[in-house]
């Protein structure tokens, strides 16, 4: 996922939701589910990053 702080939160979450679905949901045929990101809630991880940057932005807007 590319970093683009200009994208609104909702759009970023939609992209995270999409990646989460493709990599972590969907039907698996073989018993073997090995992929580096399995079992990680990508949206949660991504959100933490997003919210951290939103928090920084808010502080910047508030000024010193």
């Amino acid at each position: 996922m590319s970093e683009s702080p200009d994208r609104p939160l909702e759009q970023q979450i939609t992209l995270l939701e999409l990646v989460d679905r493709v990599l972590n949901k969907g039907v698996v045929l073989s018993g073997d589910i090995t992929l580096s990101v399995a079992d990680v809630d990508l949206v949660y991880v991504g959100l933490r990053v997003l919210l951290a940057s939103v928090g920084t932005l808010e502080r910047l807007h508030e000024g010193p």
């Binding site: 996922m1 590319s2 939160l9 909702e10 979450i13 939609t14 939701e17 999409l18 990646v19 679905r21 493709v22 990599l23 972590n24 949901k25 969907g26 039907v27 698996v28 045929l29 073989s30 073997d32 589910i33 090995t34 992929l35 580096s36 990101v37 399995a38 809630d41 949206v43 949660y44 959100l47 919210l51």
Partner: protein, 217 residues
């Protein structure tokens, strides 16, 4: 090797969309099921952002062109068609059941983000602190349930994890009849008005990724 995009039912002509890396899509019939695959060199496909988005685009196009669709997870590839066929044959009945579960339905996602974390309680002792934390978690869980339950009532099925993680209150997916999408969104809007302190992100309609696994039935 072979990459699988989805298992479909009632798929007419393949939509004019390219596979991962511009690969050509190929249909593969197996009994009454229709698999859509593409062929690639090498042993595995890297799940790059580009590849993931290409997979999603194919799944979207197939969902629009079929009567029921099980999106495949972007996971291991199959060595050849024989390996794919034997994997499908091993789960034929489960896959048919999963297809009939999602027929005519779509998935909607919901994430509810909480207000900033409560200020740390002024705790006189470690015990008071723990009690205050537990109370905060219980409050968050109660609120998450209050948001999830009226939506689950409008859905055929739902997955919901109470995360108790700071700031991510609700993390849920709902399988909804295509005709009920508007009603569902209306309910989300209503909850949103009732909780102006929370951020609601309702995504979709998605192809039913979260309800495609036979194991989830």
């Amino acid at each position: 090797m072979i990459h699988l995009y989805a298992i479909a039912e009632g798929l007419g002509e393949l939509p004019a969309v390219e596979g991962i890396g511009g690969a050509e899509l190929r249909p593969r019939a197996l009994d009454d099921l229709e698999l859509v695959v593409s062929e690639h060199d090498g042993a595995e496909l890297e799940p790059t952002e580009e590849a993931v988005l290409a997979h999603a685009r194919v799944v979207d196009a197939l969902a629009a062109a079929s009567s029921a669709l099980l999106p495949a997870r972007f996971t291991r590839t199959f060595e050849d068609e024989a390996a794919l066929d034997s994997a499908v044959r091993g789960q034929l009945d489960d896959l048919r059941r999963a297809l009939s579960r999602v027929r005519g339905r779509v998935e909607l996602g919901l994430r509810v983000i909480g207000a900033s974390e409560d200020a740390q309680p002024e705790a006189a002792s470690g015990r008071a602190y723990m009690e205050a934390r537990l109370e905060a978690v219980a409050r968050a869980e109660g609120l998450a349930n209050d948001l999830h339950e009226p939506l689950a009532a409008l859905a055929v099925e739902s997955t919901h994890s109470i995360t108790a993680k700071p700031r991510l209150l609700v993390s849920a997916a709902y399988l909804v009849d295509a005709d009920d999408v508007e009603g569902f969104r209306g309910k989300v809007a209503e909850l949103e008005r009732a909780h102006p302190e929370l951020t609601f992100v309702c995504t979709g309609p998605w192809p039913p990724y979260s309800f495609a696994s036979p194991a989830a039935t």
